[in-house]
Symmetry: C2
Subunit: 246 residues, 2 copies
DNA sequence: GCGCACTACGTACGGTGTACGTAACTAGGA
DNA sequence: TCCTAGTTACGTACACCGTACGTAGTGCGC
């Protein structure tokens, strides 16, 4: 009806190759790999159309033949990283399988620290995302629940892993990007928090800081979180609130 | 020792006013309010130093007297929005109180759709964040658990709410920003997903789509998620996996 | 009253996404 | 077989971004 609209679709809906004209010099996989390489090495902010084009060895505007908008470049990156999930034959123990999935996701995000930031802005149904979803559903076959509930489980687990790693990375990043030494920064931080807490306005917070001084075991916290998520879907006998060592 | 370092601290650690020189024309609250106004009306990407300065009626570079880096502007925005949390006298029912907190957070994020995106890049201990934390801890007084566990509960609840709303907003945004009509977009989407699913590579996904066709009740899904999070911390009698209507 | 720390702000630089125009190329239909 | 339409390639240009830097004016503390 109206004149042709300007590339609004999800990139996965447009074919990679249409058949007419000269052969494309790159595949989407090439482009995604280049962008991922840059993001891993120099951070997400270094991923610009110019940079990626340079990495590929082509002119900036040539990239737009493959990737209509930068947003779509992100889509390619997330899909490429999602492709790194190793999928296995489900063991029959859905709990163990989902724990394994979650740990793998965490490792993947540590390997590609830009992933959490991109996850929320992305379509979510890229080819590799579908494959991943299907695999999770296969792992959940032994769980007696409606498929809607299973999808909710997967979404919740992924969401929790994403925010958890996001916090992990933010903390690490803040520590790394300092022109000061770690000690000085920590000192400033403690001085600020201490002054706030010591004001008496936050008694419970103060008590909590006192009680939990010292480094925390990120691994254990992660594990506990996963256990609690899965407990919410487990129809088996209740293991209690799993108080744990802390 | 080394020459003076360049403003690396968290903004909350530096005093708003030092006492010397002319009176500042604005407070941090003014600046935060201006930035929030812009972000609410035109989206987060419209929040630039130039825009905010114009909104305040001052030169661009004057802003840098108050806000050393743009990142700190984000910090101010999140703190300002966090200040919109209404805090109440805990009722003694920690479960109900935390549910209330979560619903309030969701509404707040719907009011300020840029919040989820900023939450993960922010220090997390701004004045209003501390007040909010203290309030949550107060609500959790009746819960018999170590304070570390309580903090984990709060973090997990906030995290889940954040990703949930994030997904809600992404979906809504995608629907809104289309140059096409909603129907056309949905058609394209279904055509793509259908073609993938019909390929037979994703049998469980296909079954799930068949089973769960039709619009989903976001409210109910949210509610269920909250229940499951809180269940993971509830030492009371087990209510079962709360199958719900779906 | 003096000096200095602070506010205010214009200019400028190097970066960004991308609209647009042009030239070369190749596959399909006549 | 040739023609032509659709693609690829890519340089130029524009508007906008964060912010380093320099300069001028202001008012508190000594």
């Amino acid at each position: 009806m109206a004149g042709r609209a300007a590339v609004p679709e999800v990139i996965w809906a447009r074919p990679e190759r249409t058949g007419r004209g000269p052969k494309p010099a790159f595949t989407r996989a090439d482009i995604a790999a280049a962008a991922v390489r840059i993001a891993d090495a120099q951070g997400l902010d270094a991923v610009s159309m110019r940079h990626v084009a340079a990495e590929l060895g082509c002119g900036t505007m040539s990239l737009y033949n493959y990737v209509p908008r930068k947003e779509d470049l992100y889509e390619l990156m997330v899909d490429a990283a999602s492709g790194e999930h190793e999928l296995w034959e489900p063991t029959g123990d859905w709990r163990a399988d989902m724990l394994h999935v979650a740990h793998q996701t965490r490792e993947l995000m540590h390997r590609h620290p830009w992933m959490p930031r991109l996850m929320s802005g992305v379509y979510g149904f890229s080819p590799n995302a579908l494959r991943y979803l299907e695999h999770c559903l296969a792992c959940l076959d032994p769980l007696d629940a409606p498929s809607g509930t299973k999808v909710e489980l997967i979404a919740m687990l992924n969401g929790c892993v994403t925010v958890y790693v996001s916090n992990e990375l933010a903390t690490a990043e803040r520590a790394r990007s300092l022109p000061w030494s770690q000690e000085q920064e920590t000192a400033v931080r403690i001085a600020y928090l201490g002054s706030q807490v010591a004001s008496g306005a936050y008694p419970r917070l103060a008590a909590s800081f006192m009680e939990d001084a010292g480094p925390i075991d990120l691994e254990a916290v992660f594990q506990r979180m996963l256990g609690r998520v899965l407990d919410g879907f487990d129809p088996g006998p209740r293991p209690g609130p799993r108080p744990g060592p802390r």
